[in-house]
Amino acid sequence: MPGYIQVSASGLFWENTLFNVAVAAYILAMLSYLVHLFGKKEFGPFASFVLRLAFLLHTAFIITRTINVERVPFVGHFEFGNLFIWATVLVYIWTEWRLKDKYYAVGAFLTPLAVLYIGYLTVVPKIFTSVTISRLHSPLPPVLQSNWLKLHVSASVFGYAGFTLAFAAAVMWLLKVKMGERSSLARALPQTKVLEEYMYRASAFGFLFQSIMIISGAIWADTSWGRYWGWDPKEMWSLITWFVFAVYLHARFTRGWTGRRTVTLVMVGWVAMVFTWIGVAWLLTGIHSFG
């Protein structure tokens, strides 16, 4: 018995238009950051401007969606994915603002990841028919009407945002080391030490929010289902992601690990995170398969 909310034609128009324009702006921001990275330094401020604009458009889209669905836009892959991309860009813009223009290069790695996530929401379902990303406006079933859900989802998008940023820095580190100082591209990237620091900060940020997500999820499960932990695949994969980042954070500080080994751990952690989001929904089953 699927039920959908009737959305006015203009509401629908604005929602779709704002989404499409925001996506276009994200792609333009990505291209500008890449041009900046490949030697045209003057594109940096422009790229940064376009990204902020794209972020505002995306914010407007999320607000429109909220109005259209008459509730928090927290449910299903489409809404969650959008929030998560939004949070990722927000955290990046914040670090760029704090750390200034030296860090434009990070944008050239972060924006492609954002575009990749958008691709999952838009292009992938067209190729794989088994992947359905519904954009329908469905109301919130009673079990999801809980304040813990709001905390749970808000924390998770910021956790995922931190891990995405950490992954971007890990990719940069790998490129820089692989290409050597001769390459002008490698020289355009921050020093490996700085990248490792960035990776650490982003991971720690993500880790804090991932922890809040797991805890609030457990409390919510307890009030709805009568148990904290059901060992279902979504819960387990978020725990696996958390374990991997815990190992990374410990190895870095107490064992003094640096370089390739920590970069590998962060990459594995990111893969686990993406699997928690995407893989669990399409490859494994559980009660979380709604989102």
Partner: protein, 438 residues
């Protein structure tokens, strides 16, 4: 990381007795990391299996629980070992250092200045301007200005680890002393929950439609809970709103429709009322003529192919659907509409079935979890510990004036944030030089 915080150094460890060595190994970070990785890898494989199977064969297996117990032991030992040294490091810093010691610090500056008073004064106010707490003491070589910030950051990892222990402990205690049960009923039912020696009286079961009738409605159950004949709780249970009392919780799980059906033998005129739920079977004669109840549809409709469905949860056209089975074979569908009798031929003669009313039964899960308060404390401490670990970074600075070379020496140490320490040092340096420029 500064030296001397991780407990024993290598050379000390070699001289230890075997027992000490085993303890060292059990409390070591290496073991911790290996265990965490093992838990992660095992979990990956476990999620590839069917969930129920994974729970029984992996998550509840002795070796998985053993791994968790080892992790807990490792955490416990490592925390116990570090609590003393860590508190000393955090709360009793060495306030006086020599100029040699500053020379060995990872982040340091040597600034030419002519007067000791002016130099130390400059250091003091630069420290203040950087948000540090400043104290001073006389040492063998003269006055030492000491400044620090974020000392509670030292406790971050300890608190995080203690919180994890509490969470594990709470979960263990909860599952050892608690129980889990399922039960349900309609208005007026009295339920005995044997495991908890509880008795539930259902006073009311009320369904509230959502604005959108295709969404599963909410069901509110008012109940009184008694133990040893005494009332211990009274309240209403619905989705996301459990009733909690003394470590017990009653959660709404789902609801069912219960149909009241009048069964009348038209030949004899005998009549009885029966209550039917999904999957119940209503036997009509000794030959095995039976109605297998399939489902209750609050708003009955049929697809083009004859498949029945409910348009939504509005009780506009309630129908109880079943299958008539004779001699073990399904003969036809039986649809009982409200107040509309249906006649069925049986060996006992014609039987008339009529759906007269229907009501809701609520199904709950009843649990006892005495570990909940421990879990809550653990959860709060976990977040606090992570915050202290990652967002308060402890840093310390020392300033001394070396008269021989007329130089102000400043050294800094941090606890796991070299870059932040360097940034602070840059700020201190620029504060001092801007003062000099005045």
């Amino acid at each position: 990381m500064s030296k001397g915080t991780s407990g024993l150094s290598k050379s000390q460890a070699q001289a230890e007795s075997p027992v000490k060595q085993i303890l060292n190994f059990l409390s070591s970070m290496q073991l911790g990391l290996i265990l965490l990785l093992l838990l992660a890898i095992t979990s990956v494989f476990a999620t590839l299996r069917d969930n129920e199977a994974a729970i029984t064969t992996i998550y509840r297996s002795w070796w998985f629980i053993g791994m968790m117990a080892f992790t807990a032991l490792n955490l416990l030992l490592c925390t116990a070992r570090r609590i003393g040294p860590m508190s000393r490091l955090a709360l009793h810093p060495q306030r006086v250092v020599s100029s040699d010691a500053i020379g060995k610090m990872s982040v340091k500056r040597a600034l030419k200045m002519n007067s000791e008073d002016i130099a130390l004064d400059a250091a003091r106010s630069a420290f203040h301007a950087t948000g540090l707490t400043v104290t001073e003491e006389d040492g063998a070589e003269g006055r030492v200005v000491f400044a620090q910030r974020g000392k509670f950051g030292y406790f971050g990892s300890l608190i995080t680890h203690i919180s994890l222990l509490l969470i594990l402990l709470g979960a263990m205690y909860g599952s050892l002393t608690g129980f889990e049960d399922r039960n349900g009923g309609i208005v007026g039912d009295h339920i005995d929950v044997e495991k908890g020696e509880l008795h539930i009286d259902i006073l009311d079961v009320r369904m509230e439609q959502e604005e959108d009738p295709t969404i599963r409605p909410r069901v509110f159950t008012e109940m009184i809970v008694k133990k040893d004949g005494r009332e211990i709780a009274h309240g209403t249970v619905s989705i996301n709103q459990p009733l909690r009392f003394a470590g017990n919780t009653i959660y709404h799980m789902t609801f069912r429709y219960v149909s009241d059906v009048r069964v009348k033998n038209l030949t004899t005129g005998e009549e009885e009322m029966v209550q039917l739920l999904d999957v119940d079977q209503l036997q009509l004669d000794a030959d095995g003529t039976t109605v297998h109840i399939m489902q209750f549809f609050p708003n009955f409709s049929m697809h083009a192919d004859g498949m029945p469905y409910s348009k939504n949860y509005k009780p506009e056209r309630p129908v109880l659907a079943g299958i008539l089975v004779e001699g073990g074979r399904a003969v036809r569908n039986v649809f009982l509409q409200l107040d509309t009798p249906v006649v069925i031929e049986t060996a006992n003669g014609e039987m008339e079935l009529e759906l007269t009313t229907f009501q809701n039964a609520a199904v709950f899960s009843i649990t006892r979890n005495m570990g909940r308060p421990i879990l809550v404390v653990g959860a709060v401490l976990l977040i606090l510990g992570l915050y202290l670990s990652f967002f308060l970074f402890p840093r310390r600075f020392w300033a001394v004036y070396d008269k021989k070379i007329a130089t102000l020496l400043i050294g800094g140490r941090s606890y796991r944030n070299r870059l932040g320490l360097e940034q602070d040092m840059e700020r201190i340096e620029s504060e001092i030089s801007s003062r000099e420029g005045e």
